[in-house]
Structure formats: C-alpha cells, structure tokens
Symmetry: D2
Subunit: 128 residues, 4 copies
C-alpha cells in the first residue's frame, strides 16, 4: 500500500490485524463518522467493512500477476452507537480463483453486534 491520504484517514480507520483470511480494523465513532443526529452513519460501517474485505483480499493475491476489486457489498445495520470505537472482524468465506467472499461483523466495545456485512471481491489477472 502506498503512503497517500485515503478514505481510511478521513474516517479514522486503522488495520490492527492482517492474517491469511482474517482481518481486524477499528474506526472511531465521532464527528468523522457520525450522521447528522450524532450516531454512527451506516455508510461509515459499510466503508469499514469494505476496507477489511479489500485489504484481506489484496493480502491473498499474487501482486506480480493479480489485483482485486470490490464487486458487491451488502450490510444490515443492527444497533446504533454514538461514541467510542467499533471493531470489524473480517473472515473469508470463500477463496476462489476469480472471486473471494468475505463475512464482516462490526461490534462495539462489549462485542455487541453493530453491523453485519458480506463483500464479494473479484480477483483480476493483470495485463503484462
């Protein structure tokens, strides 16, 4: 990953674990990620979920010959939250040659479910 400013900076997302098929990341619940009524914006949760799936997928492809792009993402918003930190746990459900599917669960400090998401990532063969 290159050192440039990204959405991760805008929303305060930090990757805290990156293993084969498992990624953890945190995001603050504050004015960077609030919606206008002062609670976590559902879109921030989805941005966190897609970050986790993308980082985890990129970690698994052969960087010399492959890239990856997000195809589809969906999410259910379960519980609201107005401050503190949320933590996303991404786990790979399917690792295929051309697609990967990730399950992402976002929880609060007490491990209560805030959001559940599934993301489909395409593995792309790079042109030489």
């Amino acid at each position: 990953m290159l050192e440039r400013k990204t959405l991760l900076d805008s929303l305060g997302i930090t990757i805290t674990l990156l293993e084969e098929g498992h990624v953890i990341a945190t995001m603050p619940v504050d004015e960077r990620t609030h919606q206008p009524f002062g609670v976590l914006h559902g879109g921030a949760s989805v941005a966190l979920a897609e970050t986790v799936a993308s980082v985890g997928s990129y970690h698994l492809v052969d960087h010399a010959t492959e890239g990856c792009v997000g195809l589809e993402i969906n999410a259910n918003h379960i519980k609201s939250k107005s401050e503190g930190v949320v933590t996303a746990h991404g786990t790979i459900l399917h690792r295929g040659r051309s697609t990967m599917v990730w399950d992402i669960k976002i929880v609060d400090e007490e491990e209560k479910l805030i959001c559940v998401s599934r993301c489909t990532v395409a593995v792309i063969k790079l042109k030489k």
Copy 2:
C-alpha cells in the same frame, strides 16, 4: 438537521436536490474518498448512497412523531474512477408505513454508471 460535523464533511458530500421521493448529492473523488491505489473507495460510494436514502426518507416522515433508521444497504461497484466528482440520484421505489426502499444510482460526469445501490429504511414511531 443540526449543524454539527459529520461523515458528510469527512467525505465532502453535498446534497444538491431534495424533493419528495427524489434526492441528488455529489461527492468528490480525491484523497478524502480514495482507496490506497488512488481510485474511488467502494465504501465511499455506499456512504454516499446511504446518505441519499436517509436524507430522502427523513424528508418524508412526520418529524413530530416519526424517525427513520437504515436497515439494509447493498451495492454493486461497476466502474472505477480516480478523480473528479460523482453524483448520486436517489429515487424511492416503495413508500410504506413501516419501511421505505430506495434505488440509488451513482454516475460520473458523463452519466456513466459507477455504482448501483438499494437501501431499506425503517420508519420508527417516536415515543412521546
């Protein structure tokens, strides 16, 4: 809506039209919304889509007795983009007593499809 900092500021989202069942909003494609390779982060698109659905739903409920919360959102990422502006067009597909369903299409400056999303919003009766 209250005047506080939100995710809309973090990502540069601006609501440009708000009518009954129709919302338009714009978002810059720059370092605020990029992923690490310098293209639009899919999560930014979904955050834009959910903003449009939420703002449009809130516009339709009776603020004295009702609120609304996002239940579910999904999106397909169709086309990548590295700079400029994207525009989201939200159209209501279903206006029920307890749920609304929105279709959101995000396009580039040439009206080419960047992302297509659907968002389900619950209408909540406020306790008095």
Copy 3:
C-alpha cells in the same frame, strides 16, 4: 437450453420475451409458489428474478467460448399476493467482459411492485 425438467417447471415459470438486455417472464401465484399461509413465497420471487437474469445473460454470451453463472442476488419483498400471476421484467444495468449486473422488477397484474431484485452474473471463459 435442453429439454429437461427444471425448477422452471416446478414453479410454473414461463419466459415470454428474450431480447438483448431485456427479459420478461411470468409465474403463477398458486400452491406451487405459496408459502404456508397461502401467499407468494419470497423465495419464489427470487427464483423468478434469478431465472430472468440467467436467461438474459446466457443470451448475451458467445456460446462457443463462454458460459455464465450467478454470483450474487438480492431482493426486497414489497407487497404480498395470494393468487393470479406475477411478471418479472429484467433489464441489464451493466454488461462487462467478466460480469453482468441485472435489475429485475416483479409486478402484479396492475403493475404494482411485488419485488425488486439485483443479480450479478459472472461470465466464464470455457476451457477448450
């Protein structure tokens, strides 16, 4: 398509129009497609939607060298229905080299929305 019994027979699905990027199909609402309380089973709607997307995609690929498989499907159930016929209108949203995305709207006899769905289909290069 080969002449064998399929889910289309089980549910009474009939393709009534097949054009480039546009498919129409009908399905009865009767005991073949009911859930236990005598209304249209949401799963029947999704099966109809995926049929439309699959048939439409297969119509667009080069049968000598390509196949297609459904990757993801999602649907909102909008309105219940206990008898009669539903009609699905599938329209292609994106025709890429490796994926297609279809919008499917299922309506009743009065064109009222019963279900809205989106389906992502992968285009597969066949091995020779």
Copy 4:
C-alpha cells in the same frame, strides 16, 4: 402451519430441526431444483434460505399478536452441484422487537459451502 400444498412441496424442502434461533432444512438437487443445464438453480438455494429464515422467525413470535414477513434477502452462490441433497443451517444474528436478521449457510454432503445468505424479517403487530 396449515396443511396445504406450497413451494416447499414443489422443491422438496423438508424442515429437519426447529429450535429457538436455529433451523435446519434439506432440499434435493434433482429436476425439481435444477436450472436448464442440470445443476442446482441459484433461486432454489435462495428459496431454501428464505424458508429457513421464515420458519425460524415464525417460531419466535407470539402467534396471538404477531406475524412476520420477509423484507430482504441476499445470497452468494459459491459452488455448483448437480445431484444429491443440500442442507441449510439458519442461525439468528439479531432478534429485535421489529426485525430479525438470519444467517443461512447451505452446504453439500461433505459440509462444503454451496451458498451463503442473509435474510431480514419484519415482525408485524397483528390488528385485533
């Protein structure tokens, strides 16, 4: 549940376990559930998933005062299958007053993942 013919008969779906927050059901992979090329139709998988979520939700509501209806369902098709039986395991992810969210995983005889789905069910207060 009433004794009438339904989609469950059309597709051969059998509920084999029904506990609080956990449902198991099976479905044959044969001409009842095939697509035209003789493999499991993705729509059959989704119909099975929605059946599991619906049966599990209905089991949890107070039948005197509440009903439930499917709001949204999504699914990723992971692996194809041409014969035998698939088994769906439904687990409740969220049990709220007005909505439930279910995770459904469909596997083959060797526990390999065929399809993963998430279903949102609305709990409805019945009018007296």
